[in-house]
Every structure is written in structure tokens, then in C-alpha cells.
Amino acid sequence: MNKTGSVDKEEGSMSKRVRARFTLLLGASLAAVIGLVVSGGALGSSAQSCGTVTLNEQAWAGSTANTYVVKYVLESKLGCSVKITKVTEIPVFQAMADGKVDAVLEDWNHVAQYKQFVAKQKSVVLVRANGLVGHIGWFIPKYLLKQYPQFKTWRGLKGKESVFKTAESGSQGMFLGGDPSYVQKDKELIELLGLDFKHVTVGAEPAEVARFTQQIKQKKPVIFYWWTPQYLNQQLNLAEVKLPARIKGCQDDASAGGDIKKYKCAYAADPLNKLFSKKFIQSGSPAVKVLRNFKWSNADQNLVAKWIAGDKVKPEKAAEKWVKANAAKVNAWLK
């Protein structure tokens, strides 16, 4: 599979047009330099049996962890050259449809996009389970449980909402809501469970982290929308509050609207998905098989993410460290 060859040819003819414009713009002072460029013809190509694989990394640390681990495996074991893009969650579907991104390793069930790109257009292939189980819930710091053991479940919160009172929430307790981009139904849950919480939107994930770490650092009570896998859960010692059990037809995404009753249950524990570009599968690259086999646990991902985001180890180094320590798991992907 030599993808790079054809790209080179295209770039060659393109650069002539571009060159003319550039000369025009910058004038004669750079002409000498440009001449050098032309004579250099400096477009290196590195043809390898595996070719180039493009993985997309999302902003959160867990995504950095799985992307760099797979990158390290593909590069060191298969001799691929791996390119990492950082396109955000929804646009990346179009990127895969166009073959600009080959694979996404951790997708949090974007149902509407699955309908459009996977089911209807068939330009993106849903490969499913990467071994991670994504689960959203209500979280509190563990130290709260010492004083209020009843906070293990939502029933214990009833009547005790004022523990979470802040200047901002007045007489009610304050509930920190999630990132606008994540699935949520907390306003509905608060209403359905008859809890006296004021739902406060705190913005994107890093902003939410800022809000609750500041409370936790002061050992103050705080309750918030959060999820696993997340490396901070261990570092900050978080505990989950049990919500009512799942019911039949239970829904998580309140933006879908409809009968509010169907939201009265805990969030699901969903396996997270891998997605491949159809063009990537058709390419027959040996990387396809390895990516299909790729699978690891929440604990694995949290560990590597903690090295990267908590201990500030470079992602490449963290990936290498994990792969070397987990030869058995990695070998299973290579089979």
C-alpha cells in the first residue's frame, strides 16, 4: 500500500501554481530562496509496507493515552508511520467519510452521527468495543461519605441538599452540570427525584474540573456530573452516588425531549466504540487488523492518562512505558 507516492505527484504539480503566486506576493527578495527550493525539490517520501495511518485524538487525556499507545504499537511493531490529527468530535465523522482520518479509538456513542454516516452513507464503519466502558453519573468526593454515609445513594441526598449550599445557589444545594458537549439529563433527574438542587452550568470539561477541584481542595461538599473512565477519579478520590436503577426504555440524552418520565433512571454503562473510515478498511493496510483487535480496560487507560496529565510524562514516553510493561496485552492485538 503506497499511499504516499500518489500524494507526491499531486503536490508536485500544485507547487508550480503556488510558486507563481508566492513569487508575486513576496517579490523579488525571496526569488533566490524560491529558486533554491525548486532545485531542492524537497519533498521527502517514506514508503513503508504499512504506509501512513491517521488516528484522531480528542482533547481529553484518556484519548491521548489510547491514541499514543496505538501509535507506538503501529510504529514499532508494524513499521507504519502514524499521523495524529486533532479534529473535534462531530466534524471528525466527515473527516472519516473523506478518508482524511482513518480511525477514532474512543467514541462516546454519537447516535445521530451513527445514523447519518454509519447506517445511511456507510462511509464510516462502527467497529464497536474498545474494551472501555463509559459511564456517566453523579459524583462526590469520598471524604463526604465519612460524615454523610447516606450519600451513597440519591435517597440519602433528600432533605440534605443544603449541605451543598453555596452563595450562588441560595437556599438550595448546588449541582454542577456537565460540559455542553456531553450527554446529560441532570435537570430532569433533579426534578423527577424531587431534589432541592440548583443546576448550575459550568461549561467545558476543564472549567468543570476547575470548579470541583477548588471545592475539593478546601474539603467542602460538592456534587457534580462526571464519568468514568477518567484518570482524575482516583487522584481526587471520587465516589459515585447511586441513582435509581435502569428501567425499560430508559433514556439519557434529555435534549431529545419527549416524556420526562423516561429519564428517571441512572445513566447507562455503555461500551465505547471504535470507528474506522470505510476507505481505511478497503485499503487492506495491516494496521486495520491491529486496530480491530485493539482493546484495553478503563484501568489501563486511566493509568496511562494519569502519567500523561497527572505526572506530565510526554505521551510518547508514557505509551512506550505501558507497551513495554504489557507485552501480553499488546501481543493479543498483533495476532
Partner: protein, 659 residues
């Protein structure tokens, strides 16, 4: 004379011929009082009626997006998409080519080439800035990402100018064209980028091409506006003289109007660059790469690295700003006349410098300099450690800083913001509509009042009443703070050279540093919703007010000031009674621009807990709720248009009064 008396007399010239109860401030206060009474009487009883809401609107936009996606990804797509595709591929390759050029030159050669270009066209100061910028990229270990961003900016700015300057020239020559294009430019600047990222991706896929297109949408307007302004500022008598000597229209444009507006056009280039740079992070979301990506992922897993990348963006912006400004100054034909000998000398210098650059590149190649500044020689680790330590110190809640900032934040939220927000959201919708229209009428006349009425009603019809009122209350608080800080600092800077010199880099940092970088650490200091968002918009908007006010006060004719001093006015009297009234035009322009800038960061507010329209727009992109995002963006636009027209008309009004 007492200060208070001076204050009253300043206001006197405009108002003296009216009885006190016809004063704008008094009337506005009266209307607000009536609105408040209505709120006390019927709070929460009359929310925007569902009957008047076009609730299917977001679904229509969603359907449009699905249709577009189907068309785009069909087996046999229409040729229209081939055009978009071709453009995207062209830009992808252009950016890739620039990037490869920068890498091929090696880090030594790139630095030499950049410096020499700055030296030849901008002089020593510009060259020093460029060297400093490259040194910073090297030391921070962000060389590769910086080169990617520079390549992206070269393409984005180049294409923006290619479109913007010709449009600007036409807008400078034709009043009708200017009137037609102004609302389009307003839309391009006010509608948040988050709303059009998805359509851009559908048409241009992801990658540098899409990133450049979304950057262009934001960066073209200043190029058009400032070019048009430049052409219009060419003195009428010069144009007449040229016409009377028999110049054709082409000659007039090419030999008189363009050369004389050259300085302005170059300043337009400068603004285009700064606007383009402010899109780096957003462009990163759709494959722009470079420093924008480092910022985004840094915010999640390495805040210190995000700060470093932000500093790199700021330094890049300042270097480009200072060198384009120097170039604009040096090429101003009214300042510098070139003799033939001078021209020849310049040409020789150019050739000599080009030879020097080629020499450096060749030497660098011979000695095997790397494409990227070697990672082992950077101070990145050390810088990251220091920055992180500093961050940890500042954000520590046990620290004294927190004990000051947290109560302030809570005070702003509970005592200023929440009452206002409650008032606007819970008051009966019809009294709010009538009240806002009446205020617009009192403040600036019939037409702006009609615009306000139309905009406020359309916000309601789009089903955005509550979030829009939420955002409106934030915009009011933020604008008040912005104007307060901006006018005070602007006047101070106009009076004192030292203050002006200190403020300039501060303004530059605040305008070009991606807001999330400093606002997320700021949340640790003021962990209260909405306040970080308001602070972000104030910090982003007040520099513009400072600049406009400073220039306005400074530009007051020196003869007037001298005359006042000759009559024995103290410095304070000169400022209060002469300079400020005469600069009121510039001050109102500052208020107007301040509001637009506040609106420009509404989405950032949504990302740090402000709720309202900004949150919905952010949700629109990242949750794939395209229709919702578009409708929320339209509501922001409606707010922007109403506020802009009201404040602009005030300016015109005052100009009339002064004349």
C-alpha cells in the same frame, strides 16, 4: 471651581436647551423604573408565549444540514462540491507547501529569511521583533507547531487580503456597494465561528483548507472596512485636482487613491493578521493543527503547555503587528519620497540581503542544521515546571489571592448580576419589548428603535427569549465594566506617555491570547458561574475601548487645548471641559466597538459557565445539534445588530450636536 460643577457644565452644551426631564438619562431611568414596576407586579406571569414561537425552526436547519450531508456524500455528488473540493485541496497544498518551505529552509534559514524581510521592509525594530519571536518558539520547544501556524496564517491572511482588498476598494469608491456589504460584514464578524464550523466542514472537509476558510470568514471584514476607509480618506481636493487634469478613473485609482491610502491599507493588513490569529484555536478544532491544537489539548491535560502555546501565539501576533506597522509607516508616500538614486540603493540592498539569506540557507544545509529547532536545546521542561508551579501557587485556595477574589466574584454574581438577570428573564415579555424599544428611541431615535423592536421580537419568535435575556444581562454588565475600565484607562493613557507605553503590550496580550488559556485558571480564583465569562469578555473588549478613547482624546486639536490653557484653565479643566467633550465621538465609537467585542466572546463564556446563548452555540457544534446552534447564533446576531444600531446612532446624533 469645584470638580462637581465642572462635571455638570461639561454635560451642559448638549442638554442646555432642553428642560431637565427631557434629558436622555432621566428618560431612560424613567422607562427602567416603569419596567421594574411591571416586573414587581407580574414577575414570571408572562413568559414569552409558546404561540408566538416558531419552534420548528431548529429542525429546519437540521434538515438542511442532513440534506447537505446527503448531497455531499452521495455516490455521484453535484459538480458544485467538486469546486469546494478543489478549493480545499488547493489550500491544503498551499499550506503544506508553506510548511515544507519553512522546514526545508531549516530553522536557521527560516529565522534568517524572516529577519531579513522584516529588516528590508520594516527596519531594525521590526527585525528585532521577528528575531525575538523565532527565539521564543525555539526556547519554548514549539518550533514545529509555530511553523505550522505560520504556514496556516500565510495562506489565510494572503487569501483574505486577495478577497478583502479588492472588495474594500470597490466599497471605497461606491456608496451603494458599501451600504450593501456592511451588513454582510457585520454578520461575518458577529455570528460565532462555532455556528459555521459544521457547514464549512461539510463543504470543505477537515484540514488546513477548512481551517483557512473559517479563518477567512472572520478576517476578511477588517480588510474590507479599513481599505474602504483608506480610499475614502484621500482628500477630495486631491481627487478633484487629478480629475481636472484629465485622469481616467483607472489612473485616478492607480496613481492617486491607492498610493495615498497605502498606509491605511497596510494597517488593514495588520488588523487582518490579528483577526486571523485570534481564530487559531477554533481552526484547530477542524484540522488547522499547529499551536491551536497544543492549546486545546493542553487545557485538558497540561495547562502549563497551553499557556506556553498561548504565549507563542501572542509573540507571533506582536511580531507581525509591529513589523506590518513599521512597513506601513515606511512606505507612506506622504512621509518618504524616494529619489532615483535612493531607489537604486534600495534595490541593491534587496539583492544583497537576498544573497545573504541564500548564503545562510546554504551554510545551514552544509552544516546539517535541522528542519526543526533541536528539542534537546530547548528550555521547555524548565518553563513548564516554572509555569505549573506558578499556576499551582496562584490557584491554591489556601492562598491569600483566593480570599480576595472569591468574595469579589460572589459579590458580582449575587448582588449585581443575579438581580439584573432575574429582572430581564422574569419580567413580562411585552413590557421588556416595549421598554427596550422605548429606551432605544430615547437614546437614539426612531430608526434604531424600530430595529430594536424587530430584533427583540425575532429573538422571541426564534424561541430564544430566556437564554437571550440571560446573555443580554451578561452583556450589559460586561459592557458597563468594559466602558468604565476602557474610558478611564484610555483617558489616562492619552494624558500620560508612560501609561500609554505600559498599556500597549498589555492590550496586545489581552487581544491575542486565546481567552480559555487564562480564563480557565481564573475559574480557580473565582469559582462562580457567569463571572469568569464576564471577566473574559471585559478583558477581551476593553483594549479596543482604550485604543479608541486614547486616540480620540489625543487627536483633539492642539490649538483648542492651547486656547483653553491660555485662558487659565487647569489641566483637569482642559481635560473635562475641552478634551472629553470634543472626543465624545471617539468615546462613543469605543462603546460601540466594545459591545461588539463583548458579543464576540459570548461563546467562550458558554464554555466557562455563563449559560445563555453561548452555551447553546457551543452545544450546537459539539453535540451535533446544528439547528439549535444556528438559531442561538442568530439570536446573538440580533442582539448585536440592535445594540450596534443604538450606539452608532448616538454617535451620529452627538456629531450633529457638536457641529
Amino acid at each position: 471651581m469645584s470638580v462637581a460643577a465642572a462635571g455638570i457644565e461639561t454635560a451642559a452644551p448638549v442638554l442646555s436647551h432642553r428642560p431637565w426631564w427631557r434629558g436622555k438619562i432621566v428618560q431612560t431611568a424613567g422607562i427602567v423604573a416603569l419596567m421594574y414596576l411591571a416586573y414587581r407586579a407580574w414577575a414570571l406571569e408572562y413568559p414569552w408565549p409558546a404561540r408566538l414561537t416558531w419552534s420548528a425552526l431548529p429542525a429546519h436547519f437540521d434538515d438542511f444540514q442532513t440534506w447537505l450531508l446527503d448531497q455531499r456524500n452521495a455516490e455521484d455528488p453535484s459538480f458544485v462540491f467538486a469546486i469546494f473540493d478543489a478549493f480545499a485541496t488547493f489550500v491544503d497544498n498551499l499550506v503544506a507547501w508553506f510548511d515544507e518551505l519553512l522546514l526545508w529552509l531549516t530553522w536557521v534559514g527560516t529565522t534568517a529569511a524572516g529577519t531579513v524581510v522584516a529588516l528590508r521592509f520594516g527596519g531594525w525594530r521590526a527585525a528585532a521583533w521577528v528575531i525575538a519571536a523565532f527565539a521564543a518558539f525555539a526556547v519554548m520547544g514549539l518550533w514545529e507547531e509555530s511553523m505550522q501556524t505560520i504556514a496556516l496564517m500565510l495562506a489565510a491572511v494572503g487569501l483574505s487580503l486577495l478577497v478583502g482588498i479588492p472588495l474594500g476598494i470597490v466599497a471605497g469608491l461606491s456608496d451603494r456597494f458599501l451600504r450593501t456589504i456592511t451588513p454582510v460584514l457585520d454578520v461575518m464578524q458577529i455570528v460565532p465561528a462555532f455556528a459555521y464550523l459544521m457547514p464549512v466542514v461539510i463543504l470543505f472537509s477537515v484540514g488546513p483548507g477548512a481551517a483557512v476558510v473559517s479563518t477567512m470568514i472572520y478576517a476578511i471584514p477588517p480588510a474590507v472596512r479599513i481599505t474602504a476607509l483608506g480610499i475614502r480618506r484621500v482628500p477630495a481636493n486631491t481627487v478633484e485636482a487629478a480629475t481636472s487634469m484629465g485622469s481616467t478613473r483607472g489612473q485616478l485609482l492607480g496613481k492617486v487613491q491607492l498610493p495615498l491610502s497605502r498606509r491605511m491599507i497596510l494597517l488593514g493588513v495588520n488588523q487582518t493578521i490579528l483577526f486571523a490569529l485570534s481564530m487559531v484555536v477554533i481552526a484547530g478544532l477542524i484540522g488547522g493543527g499547529g499551536l491551536g491544537d497544543v492549546v486545546t489539548s493542553g487545557l485538558y491535560s497540561n495547562p502549563a503547555l497551553a499557556i506556553l502555546a498561548g504565549v507563542a501565539i501572542v509573540i507571533l501576533a506582536m511580531a507581525l503587528d509591529r513589523s506590518t506597522e513599521a512597513i506601513a509607516d515606511r512606505t507612506d508616500p506622504t512621509r518618504r519620497h524616494l529619489t532615483d538614486a535612493g531607489r537604486r540603493r534600495l534595490r541593491l540592498t534587496t539583492i544583497a540581503l537576498a544573497v545573504v539569506v541564500s548564503g545562510v540557507v546554504v551554510l545551514a544545509k552544509v552544516f546539517g542544521a535541522a528542519a526543526i529547532y533541536p528539542e534537546t536545546a530547548t528550555a521547555q521542561e524548565w518553563l513548564l515546571e516554572r509555569t505549573q508551579a506558578w499556576l499551582d501557587y496562584v490557584t491554591d485556595p489556601a492562598n491569600f489571592v483566593f480570599n480576595i477574589t472569591e468574595p469579589i466574584g460572589t459579590f458580582i454574581l449575587v448582588d449585581i448580576f443575579q438581580p439584573l438577570q432575574q429582572f430581564l428573564i422574569e419580567a413580562p415579555w411585552f413590557t421588556t419589548v416595549l421598554g427596550l424599544t422605548a429606551i432605544a428611541f430615547v437614546v437614539s431615535g426612531l430608526r434604531p428603535a424600530l430595529t430594536t423592536l424587530a430584533m427583540v421580537l425575532s429573538i422571541g419568535v426564534m424561541g430564544m427569549w430566556e437564554p437571550a435575556m440571560d446573555t443580554f444581562s451578561q452583556v450589559l454588565v460586561a459592557t458597563a465594566l468594559t466602558v468604565l475600565i476602557g474610558v478611564a484607562l484610555g483617558v489616562w493613557a492619552a494624558e500620560s506617555k508612560t501609561v500609554s507605553r505600559v498599556l500597549r503590550p498589555v492590550n496586545d496580550v489581552l487581544q491575542t491570547m486565546p481567552q480559555l488559556i487564562y480564563i480557565i485558571p481564573f475559574i480557580y480564583l473565582m469559582p462562580v458561574s457567569i463571572v469568569p465569562g464576564i471577566v473574559a469578555s471585559v478583558l477581551y473588549a476593553f483594549p479596543v475601548v482604550v485604543r479608541l478613547v486614547e486616540r480620540g482624546v489625543r487627536d483633539v486639536a492642539p490649538e483648542t487645548v492651547e486656547a483653553a490653557s491660555a485662558f487659565g484653565a487647569t489641566r483637569r479643566q482642559v481635560l473635562m471641559k475641552v478634551k472629553l467633550p470634543l472626543a465624545s465621538d471617539a468615546i462613543m465609537l469605543g462603546v460601540n466597538q466594545g459591545i461588539i467585542m463583548v458579543l464576540a466572546v459570548v461563546v467562550i463564556g458558554g464554555l466557562v459557565g455563563s449559560g445563555g446563548l453561548g452555551y447553546l452555540v457551543a452545544q450546537g457544534l459539539v453535540r451535533g445539534e446544528f439547528g439549535l446552534g444556528v438559531v442561538a447564533s442568530l439570536a446573538i446576531l440580533a442582539l448585536g445588530i440592535a445594540l450596534d444600531r443604538v450606539t452608532q446612532a448616538t454617535r451620529r446624533d452627538q456629531r450633529g450636536a457638536v457641529a
